[in-house]
Symmetry: C2
Subunit: 496 residues, 2 copies
């Protein structure tokens, strides 16, 4: 409770600290305001003239006048011409009544006052995920930031930061036009997706892309088929639109539609055909065609999350699902945080032309538009050929790093593990030969300070047998780092 002294306020007791960073007139005003709020200066009571108080406190009259003016303008004091300045009379009852029962600041506000969604999020909040920390082997989701051409990026940033006044206003909700042009061109060349810049929507992340898709394409109660295991954070964003998420199992060819045959038709189907997250297999061409036919039949949207389509270690990238779909029901989702670096905060969607304006409007309502400077730098990075060059270098490097980890795992754990050798992506999955061995592997990794994610983090049903597996990122870690981490891990594993 607010501790309130009932004695009368004495102006003589005002102490102004000359060494304080706070101006003296602010200190003065604060002490008088506090006295009024605490009722030590009762309603209607007269306060000294500015001249007298200035003399009393040994400050300039201006200091006192400034404080009084502010308190008058806030309604604490009333100046009534001839009769001097008084504490306002309209306040007291209200004040008495209202401040008397106010508890101490913030004491009563806890997470139980959040909305249902808010409570769930509060429970899910994971400081390890939310607070950035050192990137250690084999934390997944991280590209080779050690190999990123940071000098080029800094140089382009400097070039692009010679802003003129027009840049201070410029912010297209749907994204910086030249960047959208570069992406449209790249999509045609690299992913076989013929689109115009008008169909490209720049967002701040794949999560935001998902949120826009949920908002614009899903009504409450609509069914969404997602891969199980799959992209769980994306699911929770879609659930914000009231959609009902249904996990469909995956097998070695990708999403297994036979498992979904008897289910209610979905409004949307979300897939990662270029390399299933997290189990890494590429969706077969047959499955792609089956999926498109199924979607057309039920008039479902298909969302192709191509988070790792660029990094393919056998042959060139597959043609995207979007490019196989002549109906336009497939929406392409790309991100730059995995191909370039996480803090770039940039992703994009390719949407049907007739819907582009609705996406712009939704983005405008969500955040008015993505920050323009990073968009301008990225545009130049693509335009100057640095983007393609970097991808080409990374493809070779990641293939090496993947092979190195793959072989290292076999060398250190031998028949105790089964290791995937994915055709694409920034991670692989290792399974213990038995569940018990997998548990030992996990415990050993923790003791050895080796980072990993588990497949079950991404499963709607984490207890299912198909939710086994340890996810290891390899892209960000050089041989030396990887070698040491593997050795430490193996030594913990074999020593108990």
């Amino acid at each position: 409770m607010v501790n309130r002294k009932q004695e009368y306020f004495e102006f003589e007791a005002i102490h102004l600290d000359d060494d304080s960073q706070t101006h003296r007139y602010v200190q003065l005003e604060q002490q008088i305001r506090r006295a009024i709020v605490d009722r030590r200066l009762p309603a209607g009571s007269r306060i000294p003239s500015s001249r007298n108080l200035a003399k009393l406190l040994n400050v300039s009259r201006n200091t006192v006048l400034t404080a009084y003016d502010q308190l008058i303008s806030e309604g604490y004091l009333k100046s009534s011409g001839g009769s001097g300045t008084r504490v306002a009379t309209v306040l007291p009852e209200t004040f008495e009544h209202k401040t008397a029962k106010l508890p101490a600041k913030h004491s009563s506000i806890g997470t139980e006052e959040l909305s249902r969604v808010g409570k769930t999020l509060a429970q899910q909040a994971d400081p390890v995920v939310l607070t950035p920390q050192k990137v250690l082997p084999f934390l997944p989701h991280v590209p080779a930031v050690d190999e990123f051409p940071i000098d080029v990026w800094n140089r382009l940033t400097n070039e692009q930061s010679r802003w003129t006044r027009k840049h201070l206003v410029l912010c297209e909700p749907i994204g910086y036009r030249p960047l959208r042009e570069s992406i449209a061109e790249y999509m045609g060349l690299s992913r076989g997706v013929e689109c115009s810049p008008d169909q490209v929507v720049i967002t701040s992340s794949a999560q935001q892309s998902m949120m826009l898709l949920g908002q614009l394409l899903l009504d409450p109660g609509d069914v969404v088929w997602v891969e199980e295991p799959g992209n769980l954070p994306a699911n929770s964003v879609l659930e914000l639109s009231g959609a009902k998420i249904e996990g469909i199992p995956v097998d070695e060819e990708g999403l297994d539609l036979t498992a979904a045959e008897l289910k209610r038709s979905p409004r949307m189907i979300c897939v990662t055909p270029g390399g299933q997250w997290p189990l890494t297999m590429t969706m077969s061409l047959n499955r792609r065609l089956e999926l498109l036919a199924r979607a057309q039949e039920s008039k479902s949207w298909v969302v192709e999350d191509d988070y790792n389509g660029e990094f393919r270690y056998n042959g060139r990238p597959h043609r995207s699902l979007t490019s196989l779909d002549p109906t336009g029901r497939t929406i392409y989702m790309g991100t730059f945080s995995k191909v370039l670096f996480p803090s770039i905060r940039m992703a994009f969607l390719v949407v049907p032309p007739a819907l582009a304006e609705a996406f712009a409007m939704a983005k405008w309502l969500q955040d008015r538009g993505t920050s323009p400077l990073p968009q301008m730098v990225l545009h130049r990075f693509i335009e100057t050929g640095n983007f393609v060059k970097h991808l080409r270098r990374m493809r070779t490097l990641y293939a090496e790093r993947q092979r190195f980890l793959f072989e290292g795992l076999q060398e250190h754990f031998g028949k105790d593990v089964v290791v995937t050798l994915p055709e694409s992506g920034l991670h692989l999955v290792v399974f213990g030969r038995t569940e018990k061995i997998e548990q030992r592997l996990i415990a050993a990794a923790e003791r050895a300070n080796v980072r990993f994610h588990l497949v079950k983090f991404y499963a709607i049903d984490p207890e299912s047998d198909s939710s086994r597996g340890i996810i290891l990122g390899f892209a960000a870690y050089g041989k030396k780092l990887s070698k040491r981490a593997l050795r430490d891990w193996a030594s913990e594993f074999h020593n108990c």
Copy 2:
């Protein structure tokens, strides 16, 4: 419909264009793939050996092998060792069946396939708002970008863009820590809000702040009281959480709670006490206290949208509502797009300590975090004293520009208009003496190419009499520009 030739594909007819930007192996692969899709190369049919085709087309054998490998990996071709390479047999039925009925690209996708929310947004999408254009008098919402210290900003950007590798990963969802420290300090000094950096949540815009508040604090069906007229775009974001928006009238003291007495208790009350949007009055101290008491009684959240609290032309800024509320039910919402420049894309919330983690999690799900570079630059801008210096200069300048427009309106339109002279903010409101005169003013402004918003754009009930008024921004326009715009407007007005 897809135009499909039924004649047999002839390998001799393959034409590879040497001048094309597309590699020859890609051209080759595309033509074969197209032939398979079009059924000119039937399932199971044998294709030439790479050696023979290379000879036939006069290209290297590697070119052909690369194309074949890709088509094999995509499943179009099958290599069966001794018997050479054939068109895959598992495809044809599926293909025939599935491609036959596919309509031309995108032909069938229109806005009628959007969700209910999506359809509404598609209708609201306003190219004038969404597409940036020249800032002309008296478009509101725009600060004096002509007076922004752009050289300082560019210099700080260059300094902050000397990124090292750690910056490529760094992105705290709740915001860049040093910026949150600067804001917390500034909030204490300038707005009387004592808070720790842990309570400050950086967002990409006030709209995104609102969306987080809706998501975390409102359940479907919850009632939200908003000012009428008020911040309509914020309302639509809150509606995404399923909240029921109720407009409460405002009078010369701000939100009129007597008008709300018989209504169902709200879960949230959103106000602009520092200067009502759009009608500009400051909320009186009495109303502030009444509002806080009412909120405490009904355990409602109070959202203080302090979009223009910095620009006060009589005395210093009022103490914020948040600083008057000892219970912590008031959440402070600030933005930098109006005090600095629109394309900065940065706003913030001050939230109760116990809820900060839920906000971080929600922000992480929405977009993982706001782009770090602009946050770093803004932090330096504040830390170097440039922020406070700029605010101080703008306060004087805006007071002048406001006075200039106020007097200009009276000079040109005399008794035909009533003009507000707000104590704060970047705009004023002018009313026609009669509704008919107001209509004439609007028509004349349009003919004279004078920009404005109308109060009714921001009213839930645009037909109500309290929704009259023309909103004119003054902050962005120097005397010369304003003078000419006023003259043109008046001449159109008086000449008809």
